[in-house]
Symmetry: C3
Subunit: 257 residues, 3 copies
């Protein structure tokens, strides 16, 4: 069984290594796949977008451990979830909101309460190491999800901001900034007018291209992102830095016909 890891632990701390150690210490044959350990700290929306983009491609039965967990040690539950052909271990804080939509909703959800699958000593600040990693290892050894704890019917969802729509305008926002500095917005291509201009951070962008290479280096353009949304890019540059824009920045689309 493949087990993926997505965390906000950072890459110079021992937390990722500790989780791998615990996991492999229980099942040395577990196959671990790193997705990211540089998700921005405590940013649930970023993590939710990230999972929705990547998880659906994995083979059936893959178990995805997601640790972006500002509420660690508090009363928030830890969940085992099945959706589509994928499986998850994550805190109940909304981090799975977007990926569950893509996968068509939840088939099975359990709260992790059965301590016999946990480490014997549980810290109050590192449940990734003390609970999620050992539970994942036990699942990979054949423990049935039904043994992990009781059924959960309801869980936390993040609100997803939808674009507002007027006569000849749309108002939306940047939902994700990638490492290139490209700004992904919440406008699905289906709602865009045939010809349009985009206003963002005090700039107006008229040029809509199919690929980055159609425009000159340094040019601000819009295009269709690889996930089918309106994207704002600075060719061979960093649009987020150039525009001082980020997640939540307002984006206006106005019809230009």
């Amino acid at each position: 069984m493949l087990i993926t890891l997505s965390t906000d632990f950072g890459i110079s701390s021992p937390y990722v290594a500790s989780m791998k150690g615990v996991l492999l210490g229980i099942n040395a044959d577990a196959r671990i796949v790193d997705l990211s350990h540089s998700l921005p700290p405590q940013k649930l929306r970023h993590a939710a977008y990230f999972l929705a983009q990547a998880v659906p491609y994995f083979p059936a039965g893959t178990l995805h451990i997601c640790v972006v967990d500002p509420g660690v040690g508090s009363r928030r539950a830890l969940l085992y979830v099945e959706a589509g052909t994928q499986r998850f271990l994550a805190p109940d804080n909304g981090v799975l909101t977007e990926v569950l939509k893509v996968l068509g909703g939840v088939k099975l959800a359990r709260e992790l309460t059965e301590t016999k699958f946990w480490r014997s000593a549980i810290s109050s600040t590192f449940h990734g190491r003390d609970i999620l990693a050992p539970v994942a290892a036990h699942l990979s050894l054949g423990v049935a999800p039904t043994e992990l704890g009781p059924v959960v019917a309801d869980f936390v969802r993040l609100e997803t901001p939808a674009p507002r729509q007027g006569a000849n305008w749309l108002e939306g926002e940047v939902t994700f900034v990638d490492d290139f500095g490209n700004l992904i917005t919440n406008f699905p291509t289906t709602i865009l007018p045939e010809a349009f201009r985009v206003s963002v951070a005090g700039q107006v962008i008229l040029r809509f291209v199919r690929t980055y290479a159609e425009a000159q280096p340094g040019e601000l353009v819009t295009l269709i992102s690889s996930d089918g949304h309106l994207e704002i890019a600075l060719v061979n540059g960093n649009a987020a830095e150039h525009l001082r824009a980020g997640s939540g920045t307002v984006v206006m689309v106005t019809s230009a016909t």
Copy 2:
């Protein structure tokens, strides 16, 4: 056999990739686990703490390659070490100090001198690629540690700063800063008074919590770190940046009863 890699090589240089290539070039079936390649350059204390936190969880027989090696090419020895159920390849510069304490001391140590397990050309600045990676690969193929070189009786240890203790005060320091900016100190929880205040970088912290979520975002708190020491945190923020504190910053604990 699992082989872990912990280095300060950084993530955009070809050094990690070269080591993986050499290792897999000799044993294509070797199972490599990345622990970190962003250990701060030449910071032995950071690496020593890192290894002590993560290594003990790994399955028996795991081989840990650690390359933080400011003395590369000089007379410092390269070591093969067994401690507890774990095995190491590392320079003799103290980087194993903390993990060897946790594992209960050294069972076997050899100096790497047998060149037949090395690459044929040895650079003077990259022994990770030219010596450690091929030796690890040969070990994974069944070469006996006794073949690597002579027994070593003594090696370099880092001094570990211990807190100083007065009538109603303790003076210690920050020993590790994680990627969240949390400050881990050298006060084990066992020596803390029942009620206390913490002074660090000109600020006094009164609030002691069990979990980050007990306090408000932006609040400075102390709590017990996941490794059982006093930790200073800024809830949902970066305490190291906020306090301009780092490894070595003095921390005072005074009894508040």
Copy 3:
């Protein structure tokens, strides 16, 4: 079959994870090795140097996927290339220039045109996920390279700057800056005079050492890099930051006899 990944996607975006998902979704047994996902965005020279340093060590038959692809979606071809014992999937933009030299030239090159090995929906900005990952997975399942598309005879090469040579001087440049801030130049050791001084960024460096440890922390030195070129280093520090030098910075070597 081993499949390595080298990209400029960055470590907090979902692009690497998507590629791994697609790859493992087609062949769940594929063995993926991360080389780097922090190659500087769109910097073909950096990536070309990186591949040349690392790839030749890998076992015969390893497939290297390289995605630094500023021309994604344009008319640039995507290539399957065999050279030495190694195999590649990469855009035809020169990123393989240096590694092909090291491996002794191209044995076989095909343009990827056969869409049956691609994802069914092809975005115009993410061919790594939509074309390269599925093609790699199919190759790992035994698809013959001849099925991927037609033979390619000619492809894009980067120009490699060679040092200019005068009576008692050499003029070259920094070709690579590693994560330590060490500056690797384009002077192979074979062309260096017996005694020399180095001028770079307004500083003259007289000290030539065999290892970093020969000099004092904070001292600027030159030495032989692990790839056999003249290297400029600040002992236990970052020469690139100290000198404000980078890839392309002019370096003069003058005979000091």
